[in-house]
């Protein structure tokens, strides 16, 4: 029996497609089905179809909205911080100087560590009794701060940790964008005696805008799914001031074992992420179209 070109193509593709179907598509469809059921994965009882009840209950629960507010606040602060710092540092690094390669590599290191390890280190460093941060603050004559357990500061402890990890990503993306700006444009601007601001506004920014929007899109999507450091650093506390939506989904799924409800909340989060991504992509297309 001879296998034709098309048959051979499908034969080679089949293992990958089957694997993807098994580990990506099947769980997605299965969990979507469960989101319409009352189901506890630890019980030996089949899922009970309840229609939109899980969605209705979640969307009308003030507890869930409070967690969306926490997540929104966290995403806004963290992504804005990473963007401002990363962009600024990239502009500083985008010039020739001795040791540039080494310094750029050192800046990128935080991104290479495990977030759980970083979270644990930050927990120790931010401890008000024996942490290095408060020790330095007290040496400077400033008051000690209970970073992870004071409701006023707990969210900032997460933001600081996330900014430390992910600012290098912004640096990397901005540097990549800056390398695409043709040098002759700056030379022409120099001849026209354009100021630093004019060069930045009319040459640099339009060239790197698409890559910056892409970087913001990646970071926003990732920050919304933020879980590791909350789990390690604050455990959602004090009270519930740092309980983000993904952390709450984890609790509903694996502590309370309301499997159906946790699937529904995960899908609500996916819809939010898709919505936000669409806004970014809309702007990305607009910038590209100019």
């Amino acid at each position: 029996m001879r296998i034709g070109d098309t048959g051979l193509k499908w034969l080679f593709l089949a293992p990958t497609l089957l694997l993807l179907l098994f580990i990506v598509v099947f769980p997605l469809i299965w969990s979507l089905g469960l989101s319409f059921c009352k189901y506890n994965a630890t019980r030996d009882e089949p899922p009970l179809f309840v229609g939109l009840q899980n969605y209705r209950r979640l969307l009308s629960s003030p507890d869930v909205w409070r967690r969306f507010t926490v997540t929104g606040r966290y995403v806004l602060l963290a992504v804005a911080g990473e963007f401002a710092l990363g962009f600024g540092l990239a502009l500083l690094l985008n010039r020739r100087f001795y040791g540039k390669g080494l310094i750029t590599t050192l800046f990128l290191l935080p991104m290479m560590f495990s977030p759980v390890v970083i979270g644990t280190f930050f927990r120790f460093m931010l401890d008000p009794n024996w942490g290095i941060v408060d020790h330095v603050l007290s040496k400077l004559g400033l008051p000690r701060i209970a970073w992870t357990s004071d409701p006023r500061f707990a969210i900032y402890s997460l933001v600081i940790c996330d900014v430390w990890i992910w600012t290098p990503f912004m640096i990397l993306m901005t540097l990549a964008g800056l390398s695409t700006v043709p040098p002759y444009l700056y030379e022409a601007a120099e001849i026209d005696r354009a100021s630093w601001w004019l060069k930045f506004r009319y040459i640099t920014l339009p060239h790197i805008a698409p890559i910056l929007i892409l970087a913001l899109l990646f970071r926003t999507m990732d920050a919304i799914r933020f879980f590791d450091q909350v789990y390690v650093l604050t455990g959602g506390g004090p009270g519930e001031v740092t309980e983000t939506v993904p952390f709450y989904i984890y609790k509903v799924a694996f502590s309370y074992w309301r499997t159906g409800e946790s699937c529904a909340l995960a899908y609500i989060l996916v819809i939010v992420i898709i919505g936000l991504s669409s806004i970014y992509i809309h702007y990305l297309n607009k910038v590209r179209g100019r």
Partner: protein, 443 residues
Amino acid sequence: MRRALTALIALCILIPFPAAPAEEKVTLTIMWADWEPAHLLLKLAEEFTKETGIEVRGNFVPWPQYHDKMFVEFASRKTSFDICLPDSQWIGEAVEGGHLLELTDWIKEKVDLNNYPEMVIKSYSEYPDGSGRYYGVPGLLDFVLFAYRKDLFEDPKEKEEFKKRYGYELKVPETWEQLRDIAEFFTRPEQNLYGIAMWQAPLATAGLVDEFLGLFWSKGGRLWSGYEDKKVVGYLNDEAGYEAAKLWVELYKFHPPGAANYSVDEVLTAMQQGLVAMAAIYAAFYPALTDPKKSRYADKIGFFMSPAAVDPSGKKHHYVQLGGQGMSISAYTPHKEEALKFLEWWIREETQWKFAEAGQITPDKRVVYDDRFLKLAPINEVVRKSLPLLRDFWEIPEYNEMAEYMSRKLNQACLGQITPKEAMDDIARRHEEILRAAGYYGR
């Protein structure tokens, strides 16, 4: 080509297949929290291996991840362990899911239940309470006790100053009110010394509720109307409940800064570093405080039992919060016979003595009420006194959400976000919601 193929086939025929093992060696895996008693159990199990030839290994998980790891494995209906030691309050969740092997007939045949206090059997072995159905044997006895700095409590200057201020002798507190006074007395931020450290984290396991309930019960508090009808509003948030929450929130003022997230490690560290005068711990953690390699104040630490209290009507109550674990068998193990042999070895008086001699706590009355036991560990006098006062909380599958909510709301009260009364009212309301959603009120 043909020659090469023939040579290959000949080679395959000539290479002898390895002989099948005469009998496969069984290795039992025990899942427990990653702590001192687990490592000790594994060491003692070497004797079990010598006796039976059955190997034993451990699968130990840090406390904060322990519950989730165990139940994720249960949910997959296949476990990497044969024997497990679920925390006492998880028994309902595990039994209702069908994850533990029922041992009722085996226990009736092999175990003398009179060797254990009734509360221990109810919490570690039986589910539902009073049903006569058993799913484990008592494993490790654990409960809340307090550690204190003897050097501070016995200092004549401190004693004199305390008496002048509070009008009575400074000694280990017998009531929660005395504990409050002592905590206040030793709170001296300028010396980097604080009165007390207790678990305050908003967690279901190793969180606030684990240590709050000793105070709550001793103040006359009730979690619900009873196991049968489970009404919460008006019971949990009665006068006694409010009083208990008020005192707990007051005690928070005497904690070190940042104590709102304190769990096992933070409280132990605070005591090891001499940051606090007193700390509430679960008894099995005591070696971390008396080991000079871990604790700067190892030789200056003493222990006292969880105090009594007076309820709003003036009646005195004394309860101690039970912790600890039973030893159960996974319903999914292929080595049921071997696991039962291990349980039989574990409950022997001789094994329990060895466990106690190594410094850990057994619930076996034959050991605890023998005077030799008192000399085996610095906490053993407290163990004996606490044994009749033990009380445990909900064991129904919904316990995790109920405990977590209670911890979170009281944590908010400690931080001044809500009042203790608001916290208790909210907890009562939410507990009824959880129980209603689980279908208890329609049954």
